[in-house]
């Protein structure tokens, strides 16, 4: 029995079970390192090799990577927060108090989610300006810039829909101020506002709509566009690196 276990049990990295999952094996040769990227559903969005120059900090400040990082933190903290949250009035607000006083580390979870959200908005903006000033939006990368603008909008909508969920005074009036702007739109303004809020004012329907947008629709859209955004980097010739590629 012990003998069977010894032969059948995986021996960590490089063992039989490991190899059934990651066919490339260990990254001990460049071929295997290339396969590790190319044969992974998620990593294959990236290219197998990168220019050494584009890896240095001053080229990108890692702003795109960090934006993705905050998004990951937001998903990881957001899902547990959903377990303690009811999108209904006024239960949503009592859930906030429960997170503070009842749930273990609930306050920390909410803090991390909120500060990461603000950081993500900042980082995405910074990423956009950095890309612009490096000239990395120039052909052939012009469409990826457009995808980036879509991602900026998704980030803002994600943050904005999340802003309402605590259902406190800050949330309620911020969304009221923002949604009043929409009704300034000529002809269709009032209707669009009704569509977004599910009523003529910020009420329980608006909370439910914002909850669904915040937790399902917008994150899924963001994941899809992030995937295209990363894949396009490879398709458009890798990270922009200036130098010989300059259009001057």
């Amino acid at each position: 029995m012990a003998d069977t276990l010894e032969t059948q049990l995986p021996r960590g990295r490089g063992g039989r079970v490991w190899q059934s999952i990651f066919r490339s094996g260990l990254g001990d040769t460049n071929l295997r390192r290339a396969l590790a990227i190319q044969q992974n559903l998620f990593l294959h969005l990236a290219s197998v090799k990168v220019r050494k120059r584009s890896l240095s900090f001053r080229v990108t400040w890692f702003l795109g990577t960090l934006s993705l990082g905050t998004f990951a933190i937001l998903v990881v903290t957001g899902v547990p927060l959903m377990l303690y949250y009811h999108p209904s009035v006024p239960q949503a607000y009592s859930d906030m108090n429960d997170l503070r006083f009842v749930v273990s580390a609930g306050l920390f979870l909410r803090n991390l989610h909120r500060w990461s959200a603000h950081s993500m908005v900042l980082l995405v903006f910074a990423h956009m300006f950095k890309v612009f000033y490096r000239g990395a939006y120039r052909p052939p990368r012009e469409f990826n810039w457009v995808i980036g603008v879509v991602l900026l909008l998704l980030t803002l909508f994600l943050s904005y829909t999340g802003y309402l969920l605590p259902w406190d005074q800050l949330a309620f009036w911020a969304i009221t101020v923002g949604s009043n702007l929409i009704s300034a739109m000529p002809i269709v303004g009032a209707r669009i506002r009704f569509l977004i809020l599910g009523g003529n004012g910020v009420n329980a329907n608006a909370l439910l709509r914002f909850y669904v947008l915040h937790c399902v629709i917008l994150p899924l859209a963001a994941v899809a566009f992030v995937a295209i955004h990363f894949w396009r980097i490879r398709k458009d010739g890798g990270l922009y690196h200036g130098g010989s590629e300059r259009h001057e």
Partner: protein, 235 residues
Amino acid sequence: MSERKDFVASFDSDSRKTAVRVAFVTRRKSPHVKVHDDDYVMTFPEALFRGAVAVEILALLLVLLSLFWNAPLEKLADPLETPNPAKAPWYFLGLQELLHYFPPVVAGVLIPTLVLIALIVIPYFKINVQAEGLWTRNRSARLRILALTVALFAVFLIAFNVYAVLIPTLLMAGFMFFAATNRAASGRFHRWLASKPLSFWIMSWFLIQAAVLTLIGTFFRGPGWSLVMPWSGDI
């Protein structure tokens, strides 16, 4: 090789006059310019590892922030009690600040729509793809256009009392005029500014403008959207 040439080669060291340089490529020669080969490294582990470290450092900072600084939570939402001032999330406060000066259809619809369209079309306009300094050609004509544009815009802003936009705009225009000055022995900063294309100036103006308006909206606006100092009372 003995055909008669139907052109005259001239030499001119003034880059402003001779806009186009012609390279003469004789037969058996390739116009290909050899650039030094880029060094490539493997994405796994080089890029992935760096990315992971960057994200871990950021996560650490955010965890520390979350341990010592609590997310705001005010009392239960009450539609009958309007806080004064009622503020949108910080990234919309630049727009809310504009709402103070312009009618909602301008500040809330027209300006954001124009900004969005402008952002999307950036890479599709040649003017943004060119990396040539703004003042390298047609200097006097461009100077006149800039002066006229800034003057008209300034009159418009003064008419609406939008000093929060006027001052950064004038500052930016000042830098543009400074970059346009023709100086024999110019410093590093001047040379850097002079090399900047129009797209740089427009984007920088937008960036500074957005930052100024957002900061004013966030920290300097109190009850009734009046100007307050950030340290006077609670915001």
